[in-house]
């Protein structure tokens, strides 16, 4: 066996057991560079997301929309872009926004969203007139079941402790059926499924949802009979943002979190696939060389 052959086989073996830190660098770059460049990936809006967008877009002025924040900080990167897009659209449609949470972790996220979107982008909106933060209540699906019948029995105050009857936009709310649309964000338990089973179905209330990519397949079967539409993962968020930009060109210069997340995810996916292919190519080259130098070797 010649010296050159040994070296090249050595190289291939080295490459096959490539230092995993190199892969780490590539993955980090795949995530960071699109973020820094503000690159975003346009996603054509699929019917299930389009249905949701159109439903909101046809809500008459002054419609009451309930948004339930049923997620936590770990899934916020995926879910928050959906919340932001839906909020912006609802405000453009001049809807009244009611925000609550059936997840304890959602409580802080409501406050954070109000600060970041409503107060900074739409300072003209008034608390209690245009939007209200009802906060978190324990009880999971039991809570939802009670809200269908009697809203104020569970929510006697808002998140800040103000008596519910002193809030103007709460005056005409008796139960969940007084809402024109309910949004649940988050795919865990309790979440969209519980909203469908315990509020949407018995009360004939339209339900829309946004969930993580992992839980989306479990929820697809509810569309279109029990769900108005569904956003699944970063892809769903990006599709919704795309629809929003098309309908409201004023948003086209705004950074859209879902689209940039989709960019980072896609690039990372491609990086991972590239390494899988590379690994296999090197493996086969290595095997063929081994076979040619060691006839009758491993099969």
């Amino acid at each position: 066996m010649s010296n050159g052959q040994t070296t090249s086989r050595y190289t291939i073996e080295r490459l096959q057991s490539i230092d995993r830190r190199i892969i780490f660098v590539f993955i980090a770059a795949a995530v960071i560079i699109p973020l820094l460049l503000g690159a975003s990936l346009k996603e054509e809006t699929t019917p299930i997301v389009r249905a949701l967008f159109d439903y909101v877009d046809h809500l008459p002025e002054g419609s009451r929309v309930l948004l339930s924040f049923d997620y936590g900080p770990t899934t916020a990167p995926e879910i928050q872009p959906m919340v932001d897009a839906v909020l912006r659209q609802c405000i453009e449609r001049k809807c009244k926004l009611y925000m609550m949470a059936v997840w304890a972790t959602g409580h802080n996220l409501v406050g954070q969203t109000i600060e970041e979107i409503l107060k900074s982008e739409y300072p003209q909106l008034q608390y209690g007139q245009d939007y209200v933060n009802l906060g978190y209540k324990a009880g999971s699906q039991g809570l939802i079941r009670l809200l269908v019948v009697d809203f104020k029995r569970m929510y006697s105050t808002d998140a800040a402790g103000t008596a519910i009857d002193s809030i103007p936009m709460m005056q005409n709310i008796g139960n969940l059926k007084n809402f024109d649309l309910i949004f649940s964000f988050g795919g865990g338990f309790p979440g969209i499924k519980e909203w469908i089973l315990y509020a949407g179905d018995p009360g004939h209330i339209p339900i829309g949802g946004g969930c993580t990519a992992v839980s989306a397949p479990l929820l697809y079967p509810y569309y279109p009979s029990q769900l108005v539409g569904l956003m699944g993962g970063a892809k769903g968020a990006a599709e919704y943002e795309n629809a929003l930009i098309q309908a409201y060109p004023k948003f086209s210069n705004m950074p859209m979190a879902g689209m940039s997340l989709m960019m980072s995810q896609t690039v990372s996916h491609i990086v991972i696939m590239f390494f899988v292919v590379l690994g296999n190519v090197l493996y086969f080259i290595g095997r063929n060389r081994n076979a040619s130098t060691k006839p009758g070797g491993e099969k």
Binding site: V31, L35, A76, P77, E78, L261, H269
Partner: protein, 247 residues
Amino acid sequence: MTTKRLTGHIVLGVVLLVCTLSIVVKGLLVTVGALLTLFIFSFLYKDNPYYKFAEHLFVGVSAAYWMCMGFWGTMVPNLFGKLYPPMVGSVIPALKDNPPEPFMVIPLFLGVLLLLRLSSKAGWISRWALAFIVGTTAGLNLVRYLRSDFIAQISSTMIPLYASGAAGFNLGETISNSVIFLGVMSGLIYFFFSKEHKGVFGTGARTGIIVLMVTFGASFGYTVMARISLLVGRMQFLFDDWLGLIR
């Protein structure tokens, strides 16, 4: 050895400099969060003192966190609050007037038995408490799994192999249903312990392995996306909240 030491000092200097600068510009809260994030990520390069620091801090803080949650969330309302409600009246006024529940002596007793482990002579009595725990687990899980996983999965596999809808015979669904049926059956064959994987049985088991491998590949590929979004969230924190580099 000395170059290694020098590098160590330079890194420490940079970290301290960044830390001070960041506290001045961004405030303590974001700085702590950002530095701890970087310390954890440094593990990807190799084990180092910064990761060790973050790791040891995390262990200490989290252990105390759950102890406090357990004390205020379980011990006080559910043990003391039920055993003798006036005792917790000053902390949770809502419970003050509830009637005492004498049965709560049982967990108190078992809890004390468990603590006897600390004594070398009476330590064996703590096994009574452990036996209670293991018995509870076995009893609860037996029926729970039989009810939800076992029976529910069987009944949802009872699907027609010949699928027809309003539009007549549905080829796609027929194929899908047959694949599900054969997949479940061959998967179950694979799990048989007391049969040798030979003959027809062996064919079934090998088909089972194929189905399992498709399942594992699919689940893995599917989860990649969600994992990446976690990293994006952290990077957004570092580059946006901390460094303000994202427009």
